[in-house]
């Protein structure tokens, strides 16, 4: 009840003509970056973030989150029409979306994707609405060791559930932490790891790193793979949309299961990509039409899309309540929150309820708007992809570097973006996951501070991380997740030998 009242308050903050205008702009920009190769949600939000430095935080977060929703939709559009996932999290949508579109049922495929995405997002927001009060009360019990344990849990779940090779995930996280440590040390005030290079004194901005890793790296990869756009022409007919909408209740089991998978993966930072794959796998396993998967089965579109969007929205909950982002994009937004002078974590609910509940209310509205807008503009955005790459490619390069420069007006950042572009390319080629690096960069300082303060509290004894039930549970859970791949292999061996 308390939450519902707070939500009503949030609506009164969010529903102004200015904010709704921002939502529309954000969603459209988001669809654009989602559709364009090389630009995706994390990168798009990084590019837009410097432009919000002078905005009111509520307006800024509405703009950025709306862009996120738009990018998620844009990513599925290209998956279905071009067989090119605009976002890593919409890879699973290509499996059945593209075949269905090829059969001349593009409208059905798109509507299925957008409607189930909208459903997933709504479930995500409802869960956030219901849980945030609870999580906040829970989080107020936290002190430094508990915070460190939660950070540990977040990284452990990347290692255990992320699906990438474990050692490579560890390298990725470590590089992120190391980069976060460059520059001024927030506890002692001394300059660290600058290696006598003046440009490193200000530290390495995670925004520049994201633009390099996701934007430029992705572009190089696209070029190397030889971009082949064989698009299917899409005309969205309202009648087909309506018919698809009426058919949705038949898929209730898949919708519900996928939404739950997504919410779980969004809150524990497994992220939307892992969620969509997991949900696709589960849908296939439970389906009566298992053989039709990969050939245009509706459940094969509904499952990854629902999970993708419910994970994307649910990732906002740990970001707001604990200061731990559940996805790379949420990590970028978390960095934005800190730049706007907000302090993510449980106190945010007490200090700035207008911000938190305004954001949550805007998520309801933004997602409904996004479904409508994306259905209305699909043909337009699909035609953008038909612009030859010799024009669109360099234009994206220009936008990425301008974005990198606007972060801190430092010429050196152009070189950094370029360097991280090459790094991102190699990361992708060799299956090193990028999201953990970004997450580690954004919360690296906070994790380190929590670690150091815990040790100060305990005078150097590691036992503090096991000193009460709460922190011990969190650490124990983290260790289980960390060892999860080993546990499952052992179980598999036991089972196969039995």
């Amino acid at each position: 009840m308390e939450n519902l009242l707070a939500l009503l308050g949030g609506f009164s903050v969010a529903v102004t003509p200015f904010h709704i205008g921002l939502m529309i702009v954000g969603v459209l920009l988001g669809i654009l970056v989602g559709v364009l190769p090389g630009l995706g949600a994390p990168n798009g939000v990084s590019l837009l973030l410097p432009l919000t430095f002078s905005m009111d935080p509520v307006a800024a977060i509405i703009l950025l989150t709306s862009m996120y929703w738009g990018a998620l939709f844009g990513g599925s559009t290209t998956s279905i029409l071009f067989n090119i996932p605009g976002e890593p999290s919409s890879v699973a949508t290509t499996f059945d979306g593209y075949p269905l579109a090829q059969q001349g049922r593009a409208t059905e495929a798109l509507s299925l994707a957008f409607l189930s995405a909208g459903f997933g997002a709504l479930v995500g927001v409802i869960v956030i609405t219901l849980l945030s009060g609870f999580v906040q009360k829970f989080a107020l019990k936290f002190s430094s060791p508990e915070y460190f344990a939660v950070y540990f849990l977040a990284f452990a779940s990347f290692v255990g559930l992320g699906g990438a090779p474990i050692l490579k995930t560890i390298v990725s996280i470590g590089i992120g932490f190391a980069l976060a440590a460059v520059g001024m040390d927030s506890v002692s005030g001394s300059l660290r790891l600058t290696f006598e290079i003046d440009q490193l004194i200000a530290g390495v901005s995670f925004l520049v790193v994201v633009i390099g890793l996701f934007g430029i790296g992705e572009l190089i990869l696209t070029i190397e793979e030889g971009l082949q756009l064989k698009g299917i022409h899409a005309k969205v007919r309202p009648r087909d949309v309506w018919r698809t909408l009426l058919s949705m209740p038949r898929h209730w089991a898949t919708l519900l299961r996928s939404a739950l998978v997504g919410v779980w993966m969004g809150i524990t930072p497994g992220g939307p990509t892992a969620a969509s794959f997991m949900s696709y796998g589960l849908a296939k396993r439970f389906s009566k039409y298992r053989d039709n998967f990969g050939k245009g089965e509706p459940d094969g579109i509904i499952a990854p899309e629902t999970a993708d969007h419910s994970a994307g929205t649910a990732a906002m909950l740990p970001m707001l309540a604990l200061g731990i982002p559940g996805s790379a994009t949420a990590a970028v937004m978390l960095g934005g929150l800190m730049i706007w002078g907000l302090n993510p974590g449980p106190m945010l609910f007490v200090e700035r309820p207008d911000f938190v509940w305004g954001l949550i209310a805007s998520m309801y509205l933004g997602n409904v708007l996004a479904v409508v807008l994306v259905l209305a503009t699909v043909p337009l955005f699909a035609s953008i992809l038909r612009i030859p790459f010799a024009i669109i490619g360099p234009a994206i390069v220009v936008i990425c570097f301008i974005g990198a420069y606007t972060v801190g007006s430092r010429p050196f950042d152009l070189w950094l973006a370029l360097g991280f572009g090459f790094l991102g390319y190699v990361f992708k080629k060799l299956d090193y996951p990028i999201a953990p690096l970004v997450l580690a960069m954004v919360i690296g300082d906070k994790a380190e501070d929590a670690f150091r303060q815990s040790l100060i509290m305990s005078k150097g004894s590691m036992a503090i991380f096991w000193s009460n039930a709460l922190v011990a549970t969190l650490m124990g859970l983290g260790i289980v997740l960390l060892l999860w791949p080993i546990i499952t292999t052992l179980f598999g061996k036991v089972r196969s030998s039995a």
Binding site: I170, V171, G174, R192, I220, I223, G393, V398, P411, V426
Partner: protein, 158 residues
Amino acid sequence: MISRASAEVVFAGFTAAFGAMIAWGATEFGVGWSPSGPQPGTFPFYIGGLVALASLANLGLALRKVSAGDQPFITAEQVRAVLRFVLPMIGFVVLSLWLGLYVATAIYMFGVMRFQGRYPLWHSGLVAIGLPVALFLLLEKGFRVSLLKGPLEAALGY
């Protein structure tokens, strides 16, 4: 052609060196315990060490594969495609630092469209001038964000 296994080896060596460099750089600030808690270098020291160790393990795994398989990392044709894209991009960065982002954008767009996309002169020229002007209006006028400028903007009084 570069084989994937050898690329793995080189990159694992690179990340190992990075980890070692971080750990070594951290020792300068003390990696032990001081009366005011852990010294500033402690956390980076162990992180660097972890990266180095994990990288060495990656290196070991990759070395075992070098003799076994020769899956390609990149083919000669792909190298050419990547260079065609990357070299102009590096040129763009160098030009930006020298002439400012707007002028560099114009030259870069024109160059790529005219000489790689084989677009007609007027077509390439239109985009090459239109894009920086649009960006200028959007950023400098709309958002009041100032980009890196060069001699041309200085001559025009910005």
